[in-house]
Amino acid sequence: MKMLFAEAPAQKLDLAKKLLLLNWPFLALITCIVLVGIAALYSVAGGSFEPWAGRQVIRYCVGLALLFAIAFLDIRWWLKGAYPLFLVALLLMALVPLIGVESGGARRWLGVGELSFQPSEMMKIALVLAIARYYQWLPPEKIWRPDALIPPLLMIGVPALLALSQPDLGTAALFGIIGCGMMFLAGVSWFYFGAAIASVVAALPHLWEKLHDYQKERVLTFFDPERDPLGSGYHILQSKIAIGSGGLAGKGYMQGTQTQLNFLPEKHTDFIFTMFAEEMGFVGAIALLALYLLMLAFITFMALRCRSIFAKLVAGGMGLTLFAYVFINVAMVTGLVPVVGVPLPLVSYGGTSMLTMIIGLGFVLNAHVNRKVTFRRAEVGTLW
């Protein structure tokens, strides 16, 4: 028992050992969900690999290469790289309003030649690493102190404010959920969470004033879809009709009438679950949710088995990200929460969201491969 907590010498793992340590069933689970997505995209396109399913396959292959690269790099590298990565992501987010590309009334993209990417996606990964890095550094006996809350709150708050200014309410909320969830996992006192919830409730009316008109409209329409059935309530209503009409067994693969009839917008991205639930019915939808839940369970148990708090929090944080995406997306298309543009991870069409999620899962696997690693004080270094 004493050996376990001693400052163990840094073990180096060779590639063969790493391959052996990799959680292969988890990888199979990821592939399984991606395949469901590709089948769904094939159906959305009316039975064609063009224009979506084919490209999604290529993206998954690229993502897989990235996933292995991330999983097999030494975890100490990621520990060292966490803050620099966070700062780069922060810098890029700050650059977006200055040199970003505007699309659909919001400025979220940075363009590099033909490529364009969203710094806020990079931030979702960097935030998890940076908070995990912070709690690896923070001596556990100091965790109760109020001043120990300041750095992680800044790490969450600054990117969230930048996201709000884009304006991208969904991403800002996501940063908050992931960051606060990780602080909870790290062991921050219950008391602070109680206080935070109380103050948020008190601040809600003020926040409401700050929302953009279209965001207010979405929230209001959510509470009363009949407010504007031809306008923004239309999406929710059509999505509910499509899901509901799927019934127990669904209308059959490629037989969904609502989605095929172009009643739904964004049916290959944010509303792909709607199409899936219409064609595969209650049984299919629950099965897909079960796959996600299984994935979350895998991640939780991988996190429990890690020895360092850094690895635990990286895995736990990525799990929170995955959960937040799935829950918000499905709750949105079933009319439980207002329409916010959040894709269904690994299934929705889209290069950026697919890559972000796969990279995140690469870090989960990295934590798992390095589950026995502990860090010496010198390796953790100072706050910065």
Partner: protein, 631 residues
């Protein structure tokens, strides 16, 4: 504290804390996991509610009677000229579409349809291909521009031909199309960027302004789309309408143009390869005519477009899509002497009485600048303008320096673009010392001032700018051009220029001399209307340096011909500018055009007649509220 001691100390008390944190993580991770499972349970409950408990309701909505929402494209606003004549309007376009998914057999449907509407082999292939490529629920266009007879017949036959749909949309029709092509512009399908910003633009048949007024005032003209909710049966037939939000028609625009004058101007330009002419109402700034040749017919590019013809137009010889009146930048040549004279008088370096001698050449240091002829002695400012003596203005420019000349040029409206709703304007160049430093990182040379004095060298202007300059000289006010009329800006007066009225009078007298006195350069273009005089100034600008001359064709070597004018000279109402590219001398090529167009303007006197007012017109459209800026 040494390092080994620290490790020892740490090793002794850390495990406890680290173990505690690890246990706490496990407890909380399981708690979070439990919460996640619980929230997934909530999703499961919701799916159960939608797909099991309420499934029959939704299935009814979906299978038996589908609710279909159709966006209704708004009618685009009409564009009229000041007399109320329609320049651009929406016309009804009767279309035939098929929904392949609802056809029993697409070939059979097409056969049935071809008995009413001729369907070519190519169209047939296109429809068949489209039906395979995209979802069968997406309508495919078979024919447009149907006659009423065909449309009525199709509607009668509709119950027997499943999957067909005949509908009414709109296309854009341009009248007086060729003369007004550049000004009014044309519409086209929305680009990808615009579709991203406003999904409504994806609607088939929705058109956005692509050029000219149609582009600049797209927001006003466009209107807002409406929507109709239908119940359709499983075969896509409309069962009933559930309600609709009507579309709002776009606003009408009334232009300051007089289409009759515009046509005359266009007709008059026809004999030249590339030329343009602008006529302004100097009191309001309203553009009465703005013609540019070569031109094109916008009707060819908006409806039943032939892609090959479009390609020919876009890449055509002499670029027919370009509006030379606002995009052609020419050295103003001697027309610029009007500016040099005013600037010289303003600077006090010349006065009305001082005379100079013109030996036909002007020397400055080692450089020699030629005059177009030897004018002899006794040349004062009046004679210099009238006979267009270069030497006089070389000296004037040299005396005052380039920065003063540039400042007065800008005060007269040159070197800038105007906020009058014409997209794609060029600013031209009014050079000064700062400009040259910024542009070439080189100091300004004295010789460059001298040639700027006769509107050569770096100086360049568009025909519209030259017309504005003429209008400002004519009125002594900071006139700005205007293209769209609004009912409540009739009696606005432009602010006075900061120039001595007496100086303006001297220059105007010189311009009257150009057209009406012996030895005036445009003597042959005097008006033939009794008791009405025109004032003007010719310009012949060199386009190529002698060094490159041998590389060019005879046409390209020829000088540009320019003429600016205003009339009636004693009480100005109209100002005009004309540029004929490679037209030779200003007095020979440009002045006669202005004479004819000006005669037409004076005889019709459109500016004095009240402008047409539409009920569907913006009071003061935000985008075009023009505030005089004093030049």
């Amino acid at each position: 504290m040494t390092k080994s001691k620290a490790v020892h100390y740490g090793a002794k008390r850390k495990p406890d804390n680290v173990r505690k944190q690890s246990y706490r993580f496990s407890r909380r991770a399981l708690l979070v996991g439990g919460a996640q499972a619980g929230l997934f349970g909530l999703l499961g409950w919701r799916l159960h509610q939608l797909q099991i408990r309420e499934a029959s309701d939704y299935r009814l909505l979906s299978d038996e009677n589908r609710i279909m929402m159709q966006l209704v494209a708004p009618a685009r606003g009409t564009i009229r000229d000041r007399t109320g004549a329609i320049l651009a309007e929406d016309r009804e376009n009767l279309r035939l579409l098929v929904l392949p998914a609802f056809c029993k057999s697409l070939p059979v449907t097409l056969d049935a349809l071809s008995r009413v509407v001729p369907i070519s082999r190519a169209t047939r292939d296109r429809v068949m291909r489209a039906a395979v490529r995209q979802s069968g629920y997406y309508p495919v266009l078979v024919a447009e521009g149907l006659t009423w007879r065909q449309f009525a017949l199709l509607n009668v036959l509709a119950p027997q031909i499943p999957g067909m749909r005949a509908d009414r949309s709109a296309y854009r029709k341009y009248n007086h199309a060729r003369p007004l092509a550049h000004l009014v512009g044309y519409v086209g399908m929305a680009g990808k960027d615009e579709v991203d910003l406003d999904p409504v633009m994806r609607l088939p048949g929705f058109r956005a302004g692509r050029a000219g007024i149609e582009k600049a005032f797209d927001q006003q003209l466009r209107g807002t789309p409406g929507s109709t909710k239908f119940e359709v049966d499983a075969r896509g037939r409309v069962v009933r309408e559930l309600g609709s939000k009507p579309s709002t028609r776009g606003k009408d625009l009334i232009l300051s143009i007089d289409h009759h004058l515009q046509s005359v101007a266009q007709e008059r330009l026809k004999e030249h390869r590339v030329a343009s002419v602008v006529v302004l109402d100097v009191v309001t700034g309203g553009i009465l005519a703005m013609a540019s040749t070569p031109t094109f017919d916008p009707n060819d590019v908006v409806f039943k477009v032939d892609p090959k013809a479009w390609g020919r137009l876009a890449a055509g010889k002499d670029q027919p899509l370009q509006n030379r009146a606002i995009r052609g930048q020419y050295p103003p040549g001697s027309t610029f002497k009007v500016v040099t004279a005013l600037a010289g008088l303003h600077a006090g370096v010349i006065d009305a009485h001082e005379t100079m001698r013109c030996p036909g050449v002007y020397s400055m240091g080692r450089a020699r600048f030629r005059c177009w002829k030897s004018h002899g002695g006794g040349i004062n400012v009046h004679e210099a303008l009238k006979q267009s003596c270069d030497v006089y203005f070389y000296e004037t420019a040299k005396r005052m320096g380039i920065d003063h000349l540039a400042a007065v040029s800008r005060h007269l409206g040159l070197g800038r673009i105007y906020d009058c709703g014409l997209p794609g304007q060029k600013a031209g160049i009014i050079p000064d010392q700062a400009w040259k430093r910024a542009r070439f990182m080189e100091p300004w040379y004295g010789g460059e001032t001298v040639i700027a004095g006769i509107g050569q060298g770096f100086v360049s202007s568009t025909p519209l700018q030259l017309a504005v300059m003429a209008a400002r000289v004519a009125t002594g006010r900071a006139v700005l051009p205007k293209l769209v009329l609004s009912p409540d800006d009739q009696d606005r007066e432009w602010p006075l220029l900061e120039l001595d009225p007496h100086h303006l009078e001297i220059v105007r007298a010189g311009m009257i001399g150009v057209v009406n006195e012996p030895r005036g350069t445009a003597r042959r273009s005097a008006l033939e209307i009794p008791n009405v005089l025109m004032a003007g100034k010719t310009g012949t600008s060199q386009v190529v340096s002698t060094r490159n001359e041998h590389l060019l064709s005879a046409y390209e070597r020829e000088t540009h011909a320019l003429f600016i004018a205003f009339a009636p000279a004693d009480n100005p109402r109209y100002a005009a500018a004309c540029v004929v590219e490679h037209g030779g001398g200003g007095s020979r090529a440009a002045a006669p055009i202005v004479k004819d167009v000006m005669t037409e303007a004076l005889l019709r006197d459109a500016a004095r007649r009240p402008a047409f007012v539409s009920a569907n017109q913006d009071g003061v459209p935000g985008a075009i509220a023009i505030v005089g800026d004093g030049g």
